[in-house]
């Protein structure tokens, strides 16, 4: 169990739980973690099956941890020690599901007004109108969920959750499947809304772009444990776990052995696999001879058709193009240097350099593009 | 005539051994027929499969070709109608018994049935009286006739409930849902009911005689065996069984009144 140390804001969401995983399809394990979510947007990042949805369900009151404590500021929502367990109805926490979960038989307006039934009619109407405006879906108020698009649906769902003035907000991969422009528009709206309210927002995603766009903080989750927290760059650009590395977009994961350490330069040399390839990577906590894993993004690899000279990059490996595969607007090049690498190049580059399978090329890797992974 | 009968009996007994005949019998014959069938089977090796039910029902079914070999009706009229309609084997109509009805009450009834007879039904403790449906059950019709003759029908009519047949009428009373019922004497003195209630025999003058007749069905494939069974019923041994179970058999004889 890791305890996250950070400034304790009075209305932060704190959860320390141990709970069995809710999803029956994957292998069962136990969620055992402690997180703290201060006001602002915190990303919960991890591969599928890490336990993110289970954590959200526990915080919302839709699942019961075996043991633990969940508090929002001074309000205790769940505590096995004192046998407190507030039902979801009383927790005042907003929850946006991946599927929006709008009530299909009610209009947009009725959906948004659903949580406000205890208010007098005129107050309710006013608040509904305001939030529909804020999220730019005023014109859809009379429509049914079946008559609006996915992006509009998520906006409405967001409005529905926020109009009740929750003390915290949980979002479970709400922007999956939406196009980039739509995503950023919704993200902007959420940001704007939160700038005023400043409640803890826990946002689950496995998409890197969303992390970069939104995150003030990232909590990385894997197999039910918190493996890392901090600023997005720190957590995602230096992943310490293999699966996290794969989730964060490191296409190359290479096994290697430490050859020697150069502490003065802050680097160490690693032999890749059983080959003669050696690369220089940032200095890590490893003794000579230990086995390590090196993660490199495909987008960080350069290809050259002539042996390059005068480069600052310390790693230049000679090899042969094994295959070129087009994927969308990108070409995936597999290069064999004794060890197989995956690199991304643009179609323009392929044309200009006349790259073909079998062509002799040189790979260029910056030291700092290589990350040590456990 | 006797010779012919004897010869017929003798000749039909042997070749028909091992056969099974299907008998449709009125509900009131339940216990009598059981014994008669068993005896017949022991004697001749022919099995008798009996189905009990309401005579009206069987009549309709036989009219429509139901595969019975023999029909023991609780009402002479049905047998006659079958004969007239050509569904009965000519010359087989036989008046096998005269039925009697009783008022039957479960034990512990606060009404003194023995002393009051029919008038016991007027008591307020008797809320429901079960009879067989007079529309199609001869025992039901006789019950209604007796009530009318005794002059209490109008008073009693609101309390009447109608069973499908006398067995169901008996079931209504035995389950306690009706406090009294009109059932066949044969049913009341049967082993199943004999010791579980009180009965009062309705005097024969109060209702037209319930003449019960049997016929061999014309479409039967086993007429010889069927006729043989009928002969057994007619024999002295058969009559003795009938008597024991509360049926008056011709020639008319006094039915023994069993005290409760």
């Amino acid at each position: 169990m890791e305890v996250v140390a950070s400034e304790l804001k009075p209305d932060a969401l704190i959860a320390r739980i141990r709970a069995p995983r809710r999803n029956k399809n994957s292998s069962p394990f136990v969620l055992d973690l402690s997180v703290e979510v201060p006001p602002g947007i915190t990303i919960l990042f991890g591969p599928s099956g890490a336990g993110k949805s289970t954590l959200l369900d526990c915080v919302a009151g839709l699942a019961r941890p075996e043991e633990g404590r969940i508090a929002l500021g001074e309000a205790i929502l769940f505590d096995t020690a004192t046998r407190v367990e507030l039902p979801p109805q009383q927790r005042k926490i907003g929850y946006l599901f991946q599927s929006a979960a709008l009530f299909p038989h009610m209009s947009v307006e009725e959906n948004v007004a659903y949580g406000l039934d205890k208010l007098p009619a005129n107050v309710r109407q006013e608040q509904v109108r305001e939030i529909l405006d804020a999220f730019r879906v005023e014109g859809l108020r009379a429509r049914r969920p079946g008559e609006i698009s996915g992006g509009e649906g998520q906006r409405v769902a967001l409005a529905r959750s926020l109009v009740t003035a929750p003390r915290a907000l949980l979002l479970d991969e709400p922007l999956t499947g939406l196009d980039a422009e739509l995503k950023s528009a919704i993200v902007d709206d959420l940001r704007a809304w939160n700038a005023a309210k400043r409640i803890p927002i826990l946002y689950v995603t496995h998409s890197r772009e969303e992390v970069d766009a939104l995150g003030e903080r990232v909590i990385a989750l894997e197999n039910g444990h918190v493996v890392s927290t901090g600023a997005p760059m720190d957590v995602l650009d230096a992943p310490r776990r293999k699966r996290l590395a794969q989730a964060a977009g490191f296409e190359n994961l290479l096994a290697g052995t430490v050859l020697d350490l150069r502490e003065a330069d802050g680097v160490m040399r690693v032999r890749l696999g059983e080959t003669a390839c050696e690369i220089e990577v940032p200095l890590g906590y490893a003794a000579v001879g230990t086995h390590v894993r090196v993660a490199i993004r495909a987008g960080d690899i350069l290809l050259a058709t002539e042996q390059p000279r005068g480069l600052s990059a310390r790693n230049v490996l000679e090899g042969q193009i094994a295959s070129l595969e087009k994927r969308g607007t990108m070409i995936i090049a597999r290069v064999d240097c004794g060890v197989s690498f995956v690199a991304h190049v643009t179609p323009g580059a392929v044309r200009a350099l006349e790259l073909t399978a079998g062509r002799r090329v040189w790979l260029v890797l910056k030291t700092h593009s290589c990350h040590l992974v456990e | 005539m006797l010779l012919v009968v004897v010869l017929a009996a003798l000749s039909s007994a042997r070749p028909a051994s091992g056969q099974e005949i299907a008998v449709a019998a009125a509900a009131d014959l339940k216990f009598a027929m059981g014994e008669l069938a068993a005896n017949f089977e022991k004697q001749t090796g022919n099995k008798v499969n009996v189905t009990y039910g309401s005579s009206g029902n069987f009549f309709s079914q036989i009219q429509n070709g139901a595969p019975f070999d023999l029909f023991f009706s609780a009402d002479l009229e049905y047998a006659k109608k079958l004969e007239a309609g050509g569904q009965a084997e000519p010359g087989t109509l036989y008046n096998y018994a005269v039925g009697r009805i009783v008022i039957w009450m479960p034990p512990g009834t606060k009404v003194d049935l023995n002393a009051q007879g029919m008038n016991a039904l007027l008591d307020s403790a008797i809320r429901k009286i079960a009879i067989a449906n007079p529309v199609h059950a001869p025992y039901g019709r006789s019950a209604v006739a007796a009530l009318k003759k005794a002059g209490i029908y109008e008073k009693v009519e609101p309390k009447l409930v109608y069973g499908e047949n006398i067995s169901q009428a008996a079931q209504f009373v035995q389950s306690g849902n009706a406090q009294a019922g009109f059932i066949a004497l044969s049913l009341a003195i049967s082993p199943a009911m004999k010791d579980s209630g009180e009965m009062w025999l309705i005097p024969a003058e109060l209702h037209p005689p319930i003449e019960q007749a049997a016929v061999v069905v014309r479409n039967s494939q086993k007429k010889e065996a069927a006729k043989a069974f009928l002969e057994y019923i007619k024999s002295a041994a058969g009559k003795a069984v009938m008597d024991r179970y509360g049926f008056t058999t011709p020639p008319a004889s006094e039915v023994k009144r069993k005290a409760a």
Binding site: L62, Q89, F103 | S60, K128, Y162, F172
Partner: protein, 223 residues
């Protein structure tokens, strides 16, 4: 002829409405409970599907009698028995048609997207409000099916009515019993008449309800 038919209609209507209340209660428990012994209740509810109506009628008759548990209570309260009354028929019919109501309702409630129920809870709605505003409106086709099935099933009921009814005109002589009586009395003309009208009424009711059901589907697309 009108008497027994009206009685059948009355019985079917009363039973369908009563079963709606009982059925909704039972079905919402069955759809959402996670008790391990749930299968026991499901089996009990399904019993009338497999039991012959005469068996049901027999037990009903016994329990309504003064020695039966129900009979004792009823007589203590009301002073008279339950058999041979309209009330007795209603009770027996409710038992007999129970699965025809509970099963479609359970299926309809259970098919409501669980995420909608979660959303409702998180937005502050208690169980009752969630049921009334989310589950029920999305289950309308199931409710209609349940009501229609139990109505139609009760209209056609014979065996149970025969066992506990006592064939009293205007009280327990339903159309199905009347047809049977007429056949017994060899009055085939009357039997035919009653039977035909019964058939037409049942068919008309079913048509009306299924036709209306389709329009209801348009109002509430259970997406």
């Amino acid at each position: 002829m009108a008497g027994p038919l009206l009685l059948s209609l009355k019985l079917a209507a009363v039973v369908a409405l009563l079963l709606l209340v009982v059925g909704v209660t039972a079905a919402s428990w069955l759809a959402f409970s996670r008790w391990r012994g749930k299968f026991l209740l499901e089996s009990v509810v399904a019993l009338p599907l497999v039991l012959p109506p005469t068996v049901l009628g027999y037990y009903a008759l016994m329990s309504m009698g003064p020695r039966g548990p129900l009979g004792k209570l009823w007589i203590a309260f009301f002073g008279h028995g339950l058999a041979f009354t309209f009330g007795g028929l209603v009770l027996a019919s409710v038992l007999y048609s129970l699965p025809f109501t509970v099963q479609p309702l359970t299926a309809a409630f259970g098919s409501v997207d669980r995420k909608l129920l979660d959303a409702s809870a998180v937005l502050g709605a208690g169980k009752l409000r969630t049921f009334w505003r989310v589950i029920l409106p999305l289950s309308i086709p199931g409710v209609v099916t349940a009501v229609v099935l139990s109505f139609a099933h009760t209209m056609g009921e014979f065996g149970v009515v025969l066992m506990v009814g006592g064939n009293l005109a205007g009280v327990t002589r339903t159309a199905s019993i009347a047809v049977y009586d007429d056949v017994q009395a060899l009055d085939y003309a009357a039997a035919n008449q009653t039977a035909l009208v019964l058939l037409l009424i049942s068919f008309a009711v079913l048509c009306a309800v299924y036709g209306m059901n389709r329009r209801v589907w348009k109002l509430w697309p259970a997406s």
